[in-house]
Symmetry: C2
Subunit: 117 residues, 2 copies
Amino acid sequence: MTATGTRAAEADRVFAALANSTRREVLRLLRDGGPQPVQALADHFDMRRPSLSEHLKVLREAGLVSEQRNGRQRIYRLEAAPLADVQDWLHPYERFWREQLTGLGELLDRIPDDEPS
Amino acid sequence: MTATGTRAAEADRVFAALANSTRREVLRLLRDGGPQPVQALADHFDMRRPSLSEHLKVLREAGLVSEQRNGRQRIYRLEAAPLADVQDWLHPYERFWREQLTGLGELLDRIPDDEPS
DNA sequence: ACTATACGTAGGGTTTTTCCTACGCGTTAA
DNA sequence: TTAACGCGTAGGAAAAACCCTACGTATAGT
């Protein structure tokens, strides 16, 4: 946990930040293109630059990007630590999608309490 | 992809569904307690039952739960396939948090274009 | 047939999200 | 110093999220 809020509120912010295709695309651009100033990112979107600035703010407050000032530019950089937290959160569910992919889950779930004959 | 919308819209729905602690707790209850009717889930929350029903609707539309009618009950079951998609989405970012945990990322990022001497 | 139970939906209020235009602030260039 | 550039913020409109209290529908029990 960083500074602000509870653990659940942090997860809220990270998932909410990811729940928007523009913001996911920003993360991809930073991942594939490295740290970039705002205008370079904005060029990829059909959206006014101030709106993208607000998306960057959401990503910043989720800890998914950081900014570094360079003259009059602000270089944004991917910060992947919250994504590692997402993967940790996913982990206890992993056996479920493996079961369901093999069709084993449905079988087990249809036998609620008693043993198979 | 299921039936409705684009791939990005699907990801929107999944991440948005996860961006709420009540809904994440529902998933945990289904994971740890197995398939359950609505009232059994509702007992864990300080919230009216109709509100929880709406949360279940959000989870259903994200494909994260399914319902199976049993008399006048509706048994909700965890559907983990969308979570597998989330893990797939995370995968290209994995090297970033590994780099950043070792402090290697910062070093590399400070050398923008030219080769190291 | 009547009542109770289990659940969803309708409608409404409040807050948040997401876009916009206008503007302010700091930095670089002329 | 004046102008242009890069970026954030303020304020506002439209839509969505999230909670509530009614209410409707279907099944189960008496």
